[in-house]
């Protein structure tokens, strides 16, 4: 199944304009640090389309060429489904960039806000109105 760009983009527009809230399970600030935005580019290794949040994993090469597998938490699948996502919208092997916020515990875990596909199209995957920063995380140059 192809990625539903149109549906996703319509969904994102709806989510952003309507301020659709996307999570309820825990406080953003209790787990993630709004002062630690991070941009990661890598290969999707695994997708867990499950409650209470989707998780996907990304192999990212650090400055020394060492590959680190990052875990990215997104919105609950129900909210993503209503925004146009489907279970196979993101697949292992996809090369993506995402901007996100790091977990406070220092682990390789992030709260994802925006996923950017190789062709530059982007979509909101995260947790609006969860107490975290509004909008996408700033992208580091």
């Amino acid at each position: 199944m192809k990625f539903h760009f149109r549906a996703v983009l319509v969904g994102i527009a709806f989510a952003l304009t309507a301020g659709l809230p996307l999570t309820a399970h825990h406080s953003f600030a209790a787990e993630f640090d709004a002062n630690q935005p991070i941009t990661l580019k890598g290969v999707v290794t695994k997708v867990e389309w499950m409650n209470p949040h989707i998780y996907f994993y990304l192999d990212v090469k650090d400055e020394n060429g060492k590959v680190v597998n990052w875990a990215a938490e997104g919105a609950p699948p129900n909210a993503l489904y209503r925004n146009g996502w489907r279970k196979d919208s993101l697949k292992p092997g996809d090369v993506i960039t995402m901007n996100a916020y790091r977990a406070k515990d220092g682990s390789s875990t992030v709260n994802v806000r925006v996923v950017i596909l190789p062709d530059g199209k982007s979509f909101f995957a995260g947790t609006a109105d969860d107490g975290g920063p509004k909008g996408p995380a700033p992208v580091k140059p």
């Binding site: 999570t23 309820a24 399970h25 406080s27 209470p52 949040h53 515990d105 109105d129």
Partner: protein
């Protein structure tokens, strides 16, 4: 006289049906704005007692009952970012929540709260009555102090008493007004109002236990 009595008895179901029919129709799928922090719609801090302030200052987010996928409580279920469905019948209004895939029963048959409340009643005991276009719901016995009022960590004691007003505005809009009273935690009752909108969707499945991964990070973050 006996005929009259029989006539009255025979008419009772009709009277009951008529009363049910007279209640405004608020059935359907509804959703309000996600409200993880009650001080936001309130516009100011909560009126803590010294004990309540101490509890809030020392709150440990890893202890949020929902982090353990435990029941969310009656009002916070409506504050959640997922839709819920109202089903009306004579004597009962049922709220089905997508979040946590759980429910509330509100008895509208005129009964009082039971004297012997369920000590494990995470959602408390709810009784309701209609005042014109408004369903007024009174809830007590909310599982001791185990639920939280919101995700920000505002807590309550075993003395929590909640009064909600589901006011039908039109077919697609309601106003939900909730008053929290808890003299152990808060000096005075405080009231939050949220708009509820009818949603063109169906309830989906949600299982918090399916792939819970946050708790270990919450525990680590508090160190």
């Amino acid at each position: 006289m006996r005929k009259l009595a029989l006539l009255c008895v025979a008419a009772l179901p009709l009277i009951a049906q008529s009363a049910a029919a007279a209640a405004p129709d608020i059935s359907g799928v509804w959703q309000g704005p996600y409200t993880p922090d009650l001080t936001k719609p309130l516009g100011h801090d909560l009126p803590y007692t010294p004990y309540g302030l101490e509890q809030f200052k020392n709150v440990v987010h890893a202890n949020d009952p929902t982090s353990y996928c435990l029941p969310v409580g009656p009002a916070r279920a409506i504050q959640a970012p997922m839709p819920f469905q109202i089903i009306q019948s004579a004597g009962t209004v049922v709220l089905l929540f997508e979040y946590q895939h759980t429910y509330r029963l509100i008895y509208t048959d005129g009964r009082a709260h039971p004297e012997d409340l369920d000590p494990f009643g995470w959602f408390g005991d709810s009784i309701g009555r209609w005042e014109g276009q408004t369903l007024v719901v009174d809830t007590v016995g909310i599982g001791g102090d185990r639920t939280w009022l919101d995700t920000a960590g505002h807590q309550h004691s075993d003395q929590l008493h909640i009064v909600e007003r589901f006011q039908r505005i039109d077919a697609d809009n309601m106003k939900w007004t909730v008053t929290f009273e808890d003299p152990k935690m808060y000096n005075e009752p405080f009231t939050v109002t949220l708009p509820l909108k009818r949603k063109d969707t169906v309830l989906m499945m949600y299982s918090c236990e399916e792939n819970e991964k946050d708790r270990k990070h919450l525990d680590a973050a508090k160190q």
